[in-house]
């Protein structure tokens, strides 16, 4: 039984568009596969490999992350407020972000290369903040600067997302916390801590994008 239509077949084969996989996709898969494999090799903590796969698969839906955010907020917010940690610091960081955008400098060291930005902090800080290049994930590094927050010197990294700027304030902390979101004057502030540093990301970017940024950052940190 000859079902095939050679004329139609050759027409489709010759003329229809064949989409080639973009380089960014190849790079993304390479990263994800490496991450997934790294997660698997950490057999001491089965939880961990599960978590890597979870991140890698992007199963995170808005509902899940919202529920998690809510749960984290419910757990951590009362504590943070009691410690008088959260609200005023948000305001201070947002103010600094706005000031940097208004009068500058947004970046005292301008480079998309993390090997230029990271060494720039040498001698300016008594700690070494991690600097990641997240260009592959759509957040190219713009540079870094130093700001003073509550009497301490804080490393600040600027990332771009389309026309938006994300400021990431980094300084040491022994606390550990999952990303915690707050909104101040319309700016999204995302805070998390990994046991060695605390991170405050400030931007006018929408929430989902900010969470994507935090996720990309944590994946990079996990891959180190």
């Amino acid at each position: 039984m000859s079902l095939d239509d050679p004329n139609l077949s050759s027409l489709i084969k010759r003329h229809a568009t064949r989409h080639a996989a973009p380089d960014a996709l190849r790079a993304g898969i390479h990263t994800q596969v490496t991450l997934a494999e790294a997660g698997r090799s950490e057999t001491i903590a089965p939880q961990s490999s599960k978590r890597h796969a979870w991140f890698a698969l992007r199963w995170r839906t808005a509902a899940v992350s919202f529920a998690m955010g809510l749960a984290c907020a419910a757990l951590v917010l009362p504590l943070a407020q009691r410690l008088d940690l959260n609200a005023p610091l948000d305001a201070e960081l947002v103010a600094d972000h706005v000031r940097a955008l208004q009068v500058g400098p947004l970046t005292e060291v301008v480079s998309t290369d993390r090997h230029t930005v990271k060494p720039w902090f040498q001698g300016r800080l008594d700690y070494a903040p991690p600097v990641f290049d997240l260009a592959a994930q759509g957040f190219p590094l713009m540079g870094g600067r130093i700001v003073h927050v509550r009497g301490s010197v804080v490393a600040t990294l600027a990332y771009a997302r389309n026309r938006h700027v994300i400021d990431v304030f980094v300084w040491p902390s022994t606390a550990q916390s999952a990303p915690l979101r707050s909104l101040h004057k319309g700016f999204n502030v995302l805070h998390w801590a990994d046991g060695s540093m605390q991170y405050w990301a400030v931007s006018d970017l929408e929430r989902a994008e900010m969470e994507r940024f935090a996720q990309a950052w944590q994946q990079q940190a996990a891959a180190q």
């Binding site: 027409l11 489709i12 229809a16 080639a20 973009p22 898969i29 994800q32 698969l57």
Partner: protein
């Protein structure tokens, strides 16, 4: 060989085919990239189930299922696309070279647009069998396995899809 080595050697060479299928089954580049990435991770995790089989139909089956899951999930969402400035500019830059015959080029471009549109206009089950048959040259048994339907259904879907394509493309001489 480790899982990773098997993946790199057998799966990665078919990434273009995987992305092409996803791009044809889904609405946007972004969705196709997400689906291909998700399918690749799944392929890596289940690489053990690839026992000497041909890796291409196996990977395409995973991509296909990922795409249909994604379609199912987004069926109730808004159907419009963001205007992608980068893609638009890339398309502008890809303008054909000047020295070629402009009439011929215009014709070819029209043919391409018409064929692409005709394939796009097929419903996903019909589009799927056409893609697997005409783009990937898979046989009926392989397509049946990927689509999860009997071979008879594959054949009837192919026949229906071809009827629709022939009708849509009647203005192009099929005998050329």
């Amino acid at each position: 060989m480790s899982n990773r080595q098997v993946f790199d050697a057998l799966v990665l060479p078919h990434l273009d085919a995987a992305y092409n299928l996803a791009r044809w089954l889904l609405r946007s580049e972004q969705a196709a990239e997400d689906a291909t990435q998700e399918a690749s991770i799944r392929a890596l995790r289940h690489i053990g189930s690839l026992r000497g089989d041909d890796a291409r139909p196996w990977l395409l089956g995973i991509v296909r299922n990922t795409c249909f899951t994604l379609l199912e999930r987004t069926r109730n969402e808004a159907q419009w696309l963001d205007f992608d400035e980068a893609e638009f500019e890339a398309a502008l830059i890809q303008a054909p070279p000047r020295d070629a015959d402009p009439v011929l080029q215009l014709q070819q471009q029209r043919t391409r647009t018409q064929i692409d549109a005709a394939i796009r206009a097929l419903s996903p089950p019909l589009r799927e069998v056409i893609l697997l048959r005409e783009f990937e040259d898979l046989d009926y048994a392989q397509i049946a396995k990927i689509a999860g339907v009997p071979i008879g259904t594959v054949m009837s879907r192919l026949a229906r899809a071809r009827d629709k394509l022939r009708a849509a493309l009647s203005s192009i001489a099929l005998g050329e």
